[in-house]
Symmetry: C2
């Protein structure tokens, strides 16, 4: 029986984590839940899973760091947006708890700090994310140093086949129609359209699997059946496949290395009904990929700037204040103006994040 | 440094095993070699790999059992055709050596005996075969009881898209043109055309991975990029991909779980140039699949009869004495006439094999 805290319990990952726990009552016990806005749903969740008041944090002032350190919890699911996710992740790791991580900015902005905290405390950062879970599953049976390359698959997003002119005139509604993964949030759906989502994932993969950026590739696979692939030093390639259902990576992160039937729907490979295709991404039409690579290679506070500038620029695009192609332009401008600090502290990371947001939004 | 004996050194798997050893001189040392016909090549191999005379067996009377037990050898590659492979495999396992197994009939005809010998002696049977190696690689990181289903991929063979009438008139030359795997032997190429190859592989998989037949599926995947897939109890699917190059499964069988760069060519997933397709096999056009399933379910000596009757019938087809659709008919006739003996001894298996061959060939 594993005792779980969920930070961000009322969001998409939070509610799906609870569904996994509902399906595996003998294996998972929910001992803590947090929500920022939806207090009513949080109360219902707490009632259903019998979470005591000491395990609840609610509202804008929710003390996630307290919950991340909750006595008796084995693992903390971090599924909150933003910088508070970094603090909570560090707190959980320092308290000796495994972190099942859904919040992208944690590793993008603070990967070096976070992975060092995991190592120091002898605990793990387990990915909740279809691509990184795929890689994590593929590397299980091989020695740690046997990975030659990781291929993260990308659906290619809604503009995969759009020309430059059409992309230049894209409106938020065009981007918000994601082809394969249902019910994603607005921000991540725009990131999927710019492919920044994949750029951020390469930075996460860099930390999770301790690989240099040049050994992390992206391949466009519009059917989203293969969730990622690993090439080993012998030339063998392993891939993980599945339906687009986040409950599977959630379950794997919580029960790893065990594989228990939670009654999730199965992929039937003989009845896919569609051929699987793989193509290199068009870096010219999707400049966010090169920006992410550049940020990771600059290191230090630069990935935090990339991430924050992207969030700010996506916000402006959603408000229809900038065009779709202006998103990477604003990010690049912020990065050009930033001198990265190497081996940053959390405070330096958060300062860089705030600075980058101001750089993008100050003129609007 | 692993010390290796190769039974069948001058054949396709044997020479490819030597190529792997040539590429990994720090890891693999050849200590024994056998050949039945090509003495000249064997002498050259012995010279190149510095194998002493005591490690050589040559000719029709080659004592493979002696070589399988060779003092100081860690693993024996069994890549000889026919029943002598069963004897040699059992001898190697009983002498405490791992067996890297390429000879199909060993597990098809004597799977129960062979796996029991491996268990009793605390050694392993490692597959040299792209499909079983794929499964073996996929199951590495998960607990032993977590496999829900195995999907063996099949190219579909040269008659994949042929109608029944055209198949009825097929000549050996039509079948001997295999679409994806180059340079296979004549017998295995016909097995690929009837899909009996895949039927035999399901029986092998049944023993290697200790699964009931109904949890081993076949999926037609003409591109032969994915070599097989495993569905786990949580619904996750892992697959192994690679170029059609037997040296990779050979290397994995010999170095498992390590993955060392032997300079083998790499699969570049982003530049496949072809979509990957998956379809259920047409059991009506390929009755060998049902015959294999029936033989495995009958158990005992029946799979030996299936295998031997198939070899005899394929021989008759290659001699143009029977038609292509008559191959499964002759196998079925032999199976119908056989009362399988449960838990057979090696002698009973060999008798059933000889009996089945006579059943098929006696009228010709």
């Amino acid at each position: 029986m594993k005792r779980i805290v969920i930070l961000g319990a009322t969001g998409s990952i939070g509610t799906q984590t609870l569904d996994v726990a509902r399906r595996l009552p003998e294996r998972l016990r929910i001992v803590g839940l947090s929500a920022r806005h939806n207090e009513e749903l949080l109360r219902r969740q707490a009632h259903e899973f019998d979470v005591p008041p000491a395990g609840l944090e609610c509202g804008e002032e929710a003390d996630l760091v307290r919950l991340a350190r909750l006595d008796g919890a084995d693992a903390v699911v971090v599924a909150v947006a933003g910088a508070v996710g970094i603090r909570a992740t560090l707190a959980a790791l320092e308290a000796g708890k495994d972190v099942a991580l859904a919040t992208k900015e944690v590793l993008v902005a603070a990967g070096e700090l976070v992975m060092a905290a995991a190592r120091t405390n002898g605990v793990r950062v387990l990915p909740i994310d279809s691509e990184h879970s795929a890689v994590f599953q593929c590397v299980q049976g091989s020695p740690a140093d046997s990975v030659e390359k990781v291929w993260l698959t990308a659906s290619g997003g809604p503009f995969r086949e759009w020309g430059r002119d059409r992309m230049a005139a894209a409106m938020p509604a065009d981007a918000l129609n994601h082809p394969t993964w249902p019910a994603m949030g607005r921000k991540i759906t725009i990131d999927s359209a710019t492919l920044m989502n994949k750029g951020l994932e390469t930075i996460e993969a860099r930390w999770l699997f301790d690989l240099p950026m040049e050994r992390i590739g992206i391949v466009i696979h519009p059917q989203s059946v293969i969730h990622s692939l690993v090439v080993f030093h012998d030339g063998s390639v392993l891939a993980q496949l599945g339906l687009p259902d986040m409950r599977l990576p959630i379950e794997y992160a919580l029960l790893h290395p065990e594989r228990v039937d939670a009654g999730l729907p199965r992929l039937d490979i003989a009845r896919l009904g569609t051929p699987l295709t793989f193509d290199p991404p068009d870096e010219a039409r999707f400049p966010c990929l090169a920006l992410a690579r550049r940020a990771a290679q600059s290191g230090g506070t630069m990935p935090a700037v990339l991430n924050a500038a992207n969030e700010a620029a996506v916000g402006l695009f959603l408000e229809e204040k900038i065009t779709f192609p202006a998103i990477p332009e604003w990010i690049e401008r912020a990065m050009d103006a930033h001198a990265p600090q190497p081996r940053p502290t959390l405070t330096q990371i958060l300062n860089a994040d705030a600075w980058a947001r101001r750089q993008v939004t100050q003129d609007f």
